[in-house]
């Protein structure tokens, strides 16, 4: 039963974690915004508006993912395992992670439509590949 629960969680998480693959605060890097993407002041303003719009919910989602995972860990460490509670904890993790993916994807989509094709391609090239959340190593840390 425990193995089945684990497989269910892995499948759910894998399916929900398709998009976006990486996320970093590129809009705060002046080199990226002005030199590499050549964003107009209007675009910068709109991008920042999108971030401000999603920020509060993302903070909540981050907390919910963390809390649900702690809850799941607690259920796994409980002896004997209460399968009903553990299943509920799994559902909570899946829902939280799903919300995270959905929210990040929606925010990314709103940003994408503000960028032209060239800017989007350029941003794709700047995507960090190894450390999630980290900006590309060649970029100077700016805000």
């Amino acid at each position: 039963m425990r193995r089945a629960m684990v497989v269910a969680v892995i499948l759910a998480v894998s399916l929900s974690a398709q998009m976006p693959k990486t996320m970093w605060a590129w809009w705060n890097n002046q080199v990226v915004v002005q030199k590499m993407l050549n964003l107009t002041p209007a675009q910068i303003q709109q991008i920042r508006h999108v971030v401000r719009q999603y920020r509060p919910h993302l903070i909540d989602v981050r907390a919910e993912v963390a809390k649900s995972e702690i809850d799941l860990e607690t259920q796994f460490n409980h002896d004997p395992v209460d399968q009903t509670k553990a299943t509920q904890a799994i559902e909570r993790v899946v829902a939280a992670r799903s919300d995270l993916t959905r929210t990040l994807s929606e925010m990314s989509l709103k940003m994408r439509v503000l960028l032209n094709e060239q800017q989007w391609q350029q941003l794709q090239r700047l995507r960090p590949t190894k450390d999630p959340g980290e900006q590309p190593a060649e970029l100077p840390p700016q805000r």
Binding site: R3, I10, V13, R55, L58, I59, A66, L100, Q135
Partner: protein, 132 residues
Amino acid sequence: MKHWTEKDFTEWMYGLKEEDPHVAGCAECRGELERLKLERGRTIALPEVSHDFLASQRRSIYQRLGKPISNWHPMRWGISVAALVVVILSVTLNTWKSTPAISDEQLFSDLATMEQSNEPKAIAPIHKFFEE
């Protein structure tokens, strides 16, 4: 008889001791007693207040009774404003302190880490068996 001590004089001052034959016959004790009587009389004597002073005081009171009571006082407003400023500052500072400050970099770094992690921490030990 012995001369009166300081304790004897104090008790006499508070009415706890009567004058005795020694005081009546001893010039030294009698003198001290008289001095203390004078001192006490001076202390408890009412101050002399002239009739004119009392009359002017009455006139002043009657005059003020006829006027409307004014609550205005510059210090009153000053204290109220200062209290209001303290309340606003404390509320503002409290709100500012209680708001968790998180940068975009930190927030999106955390989110990306969560997004990229393949499984919850709880199942990681069991997930390893599948990899092996």
